[in-house]
Every structure is written in C-alpha cells, then in structure tokens.
C-alpha cells in the first residue's frame, strides 16, 4: 500500500512538468527547501530546534557561486563541493553548539546565522553584498546544456537525489545512531549512564543536517542562477522549521511533502490573495495544536497505519 502510494507520488512528480511546464521551477525549489527542512527535522528528532539553519543553505549556495566564478563548471562537482562546504561548516559550528540545549541552542544558531548574513550583505567586494552573486549555468555530466534544458536535468536530478538521499537518511535514522538521537530528546541523562557519547551523537546529527541543508542550497543556487544574502536571514530559517513541522518530522518524506505542498499552494495562492503569510501563520498554529505529526502523520493515519 505504502510502496504503491510512494510510486504514484513519484510518477506524478516526474510527470508534473510535462503537464504544466511552469511547475518545474516551483517544484525544483520545493525539493531544494525540502532538503534543508529535512536537515531541520533531523535535529528536531533530537529535541533541538535550530532557528539558523538557513546559514548552511547559504554556505553551500555561496560556495557554488565562488566555485563557478573560479571556473568550476560541472553540476556533479559543484553539488558535491557545495554540500561538502556545508558539512564542514556544520562540523565546525556543531563542535561548539552541541554543548547547548533548548533555548540556548536555538539562540546560538540564530546568532551564527545572523553573523553570516550580516557578513555576506556587508562584504560587498567579495560577496556582491545585497546585490548577490550570479551562478552561471554549469554543464551536466560533461554535457553543455542551455538554461531550459539544464533546468529540466536539474529537476530530475533533484528527484533522484531526493529518493537516494532520503533513503540514506532513513537508514541513518533507523540505525543505532539514529535511535540514540531520538533518545537524547527522551532522556539524555539515561543515555549518558548507558555510556553513549551524547555530544558525538549530536555532532554527527548536526553535520548530517548541515549537509542536507547544503544539498538544498546547491540545488537552489543552480536553479535560480542568482543568490542573495536573504538565503541566510533568520526568517528563512524560521520557514525551514515551519516546513519541517507542517510536513511532519516523523518520517523522511514529511519535510518534502510539506515543502512541495507549500510551494505549489503558494504559487497558486499568490494569484488569489496577498495575505499568504497570514494564512500560512494560521495554518502553522493550527497544525501545531491539532495535527502534531504534520501532514505526513495525517497521510499515514488515513492509510491505516500508526503515525
């Protein structure tokens, strides 16, 4: 039942741009944000809320812009290096942050991301300041493509990545390491008594989540072709948490469902109403109070399985 649903959803995703070409860009961005939201969701499983995770999204995007300017012009290479940049940044930042919990963890993430945001927007000579940076169209596995073709290739690469990386994250969460992460949330002290190094567990989770945000930032940078300091602003981080919670953090699919749902709805809604944030704010509060396992939880409950 679930496998069938999953395949239908994938097929629909793959065919959507054929039916409605304007959807392709929206869906590519949705997948990009879904990756970053998945990163946030991984941390949320450990009971840690980051309102600064957009910084890793921005790190990867800017790394790609710098690499592209330096002449690196291959999709695979850019994606890998961008993600690596975010993972390294996550490892460094995480080394400091895994000592903190709850509100302090959230605040320090916010502080880090705002330092990055302020630096990017002020260092005009290096980052182009508030004008941002352009990202040239890279080649795709060595094949030079024009912008529309590259966008299509990027979209399908995004879907493949979503499935592949999503599976990897699922395996990680189901591993002892992943269970230890959830246990940090439940009872950290007991975990320590069992001899589990809590900080190592959290550092790995933090690095994974930064890398996931990095994949998202890389896809977004190449899809939009232009990046801005706003990628790292705290409201962007807030939106990532929103997407993760709206979609549900119970499973890997949740953040992607949340992201796809929101982006498509947003695109449709802007034509009808200009009070989008108001609607989404009300929806967020509603989901938190009445649907704590998110849209994904709702889907699972409907299909007769425990959420």
């Amino acid at each position: 039942m679930r496998a069938a649903l999953f395949l239908i959803a994938l097929a629909a995703l793959a065919l959507a741009p054929v039916a409605a070409p304007w959807l392709q860009f929206v869906l590519t961005l949705a997948i990009a944000k879904g990756f970053a939201a998945l990163g946030v969701a991984v941390l949320l499983r450990g009971g840690l809320i980051s309102i600064g995770h957009a910084m890793f999204y921005a790190v990867s995007a800017y790394a790609i812009a710098f690499l592209a300017r330096a002449g690196v012009n291959e999709f695979v290479l850019l994606l890998l290096l961008g993600t690596l940049a975010s993972a390294v940044a996550g490892l460094l930042v995480g080394t400091f942050l895994v000592r903190y919990r709850a509100i302090f963890f959230a605040m320090l993430n916010l502080a880090m991301s705002m330092v990055l945001y302020a630096l990017i927007s002020k260092l005009y000579g290096i980052t182009g300041g508030t004008d941002g940076m352009r990202v040239a169209v890279p080649s795709f596995f060595g094949i030079t493509l024009d912008k529309p073709r590259f966008d299509t290739a990027l979209y399908y690469a995004g879907i493949v990545l979503m499935v592949g990386v999503g599976y990897g994250v699922q395996r990680y969460l189901a591993s002892p390491l992943g269970h230890a992460l959830s246990a940090v949330h439940t009872n950290e002290l007991r975990l320590e008594y069992l001899g589990v190094p809590v900080r190592v567990v959290l550092l790995i989770a933090y690095t994974v989540s930064a890398a996931l945000a990095g994949i998202g930032g890389a896809i977004a940078a190449m899809a939009i072709g232009h990046i801005l300091p706003e990628f790292a602003f705290w409201t962007a981080s807030g939106h990532l948490v929103l997407v993760a919670v709206l979609g549900g953090i119970g499973g890997v699919a949740g953040p992607f469902i949340g992201s796809l749902f929101l982006e498509v709805l947003h695109t449709v809604a802007v034509g009808v109403t200009d009070a989008w944030n108001l609607i989404i704010g009300v929806a967020l509060i509603g989901v938190i109070f009445f649907l704590p396992s998110g849209l994904y939880g709702l889907l699972r409950r409907r299909s007769g399985e425990p959420a």
Binding site: A106, N277, L278, L284
Partner: protein, 299 residues
Amino acid sequence: MLDTLIPLAVDGLASAALIFFVAVGLTLVFSVLRVLNVAHGSFYSIGAYVAASIGLWIAGAGLNPWLSFPALILSAAIVAALFGPLVERCLMRWTYGKSEAIQILVTFGLFLILEDLQRIVFGVSSLAEDTPMQLLGSTQIGGVVYLNYQLLLIALAAIVVIGLRVLLTKTRIGRLVTAVVADREMAQSIGINTNRVFILSFSLGVFLAALGGALATPTAGAAPGLGAETMVLAFAVAAIGGLGQIEGAALAAIIVGLARVLAIYFAPSLDAVAPYIVMLVVLLIRPYGLFGQAATRRI
C-alpha cells in the same frame, strides 16, 4: 579621535535605547511566561506605524505640534491594549509549559500573521514623521551638535530601567509578578490570580516594544521589514544580558550600542555584524548571558 567618537557614542546609545525598550519587553515576557516570543519585534514595527500615522494626522489636522509627544506614548498604549490581552488569551497561554520548539514555532506563526496584518493595514510604503525631533532642536557642546531628541531617548531608557525595578519591588502587582516568576504553582496555590499576571506582563511587554517603535519614528520612520530586523537585535540584547534580566538587558544594550560605534569608527563594513558577534562571544562563554544564572540540571 574623541571628537568623532563622542557624537558617534550618543548616536549609538540612542539607537541602543530603542532596542533596549524592545529587549526589556522580550525579557520581561520571557521571565513571566517562560516563552521566547519570536513575534515580539512585530509589535515594535506596528508601534512605529501607528505612531507615524497618528503623528501625520496631528500635523495634517493642524493641531498643536507638541501633542505629538503624548501621541507617541498613546500609540504604544493603543498597540498594547489591542494586542496584549488578545494575543495572550488566544495564543500564548496554550504554549505554557510546552517544549521550546513548539513555543518558537507558534510565535513564528504569530510573527507571519502580524507581518501580513501590518502590510494590509499600513501598506508597503514607509512613513516618516519627525515633528518631535524638530521641536526639540539640538544642543551644541564643545563644537559638537547633539540632537536633543536622542538625549531624551537615552534618559527615557534610564527611566524605564528604574521604573521597572521600582514597579517589580515596591508595588503590589510587581510583587505578584515576582512571585509568579519565582514559582508559578506556589503562587497559584496561595491564591494569586496568575492569569491576570500573565495578561498584564505580556501587555506590558507589548507596550515596551511598541514604545520603542513609536519613539523610533521621529528619527527613523516606519518601514516594512522593520519587525524582523528589530527582532534579532532585541533578541541579541536580551540574550547577552541574560534572558529575564532587566538590568542585564540595559547593560547589554549599552555594550551593543558601543560595539556598533567602534565598528563604525574602525571597520564601517562590520557595523551590522557587531551586535551578533558580541552575542556569539558572550553566549559561547556564558550561555545564560552576562547576568543570568545557570539552571541546575534536572533528572
């Protein structure tokens, strides 16, 4: 060097005073409600818009321009009366005792709602109304010109620090608030109406944020996006001082204000980064802030 630094310092402290109003409201709400209100900055920008609108109306109606001073305070009071009890009763109270993740998300939802409400009511253009600043004029000391309005802001911030301390220690309602902060359950069991304390404290927090915004209009005007910007700054100040610490927030505002001045003087491109770097350094060394106390770990 001092000739340039002192005017800069007055400038820095005046803007720090504005941030202080927001930060102290945030800290007050946090210590009583134990919720970090991410939407707090929006009350600042709504306060700014209301004050600018009323100020423009006063100017347009040809009333006595000195009325624009009480109008600033009145605007903050209007915002507090409108949003304080409503938001606390309908939203905040459902988050008490919940995890930080939920509290931050609910208030982030509120932030989105308030941002849109502000846009729908006041539009996307910025408003400017500087009558109060013009009326007060400037003072010249040692060849340097100071805006009297900025000096007034610094004085007001000092009054608020003292006023809040007196309110909390010398008055009946202040002591009730202190009791609720110390032990919510105990306070409730000896018959303190905690709901009333929550409503009052939250409304006072909203008032202080809106006051910051209202007082900012004569020098900075009201513009969209102000709420999000102010939020992080207030957050930085409150966190540096230690969440829940009134004097801590005041000291932190001074530190952040002076850090910005030094940044403007020595490395102009870093002035926006300065507050966050201070926050980062302080929090990494003392995560509970300068004045805060480490919470004991509970099993």
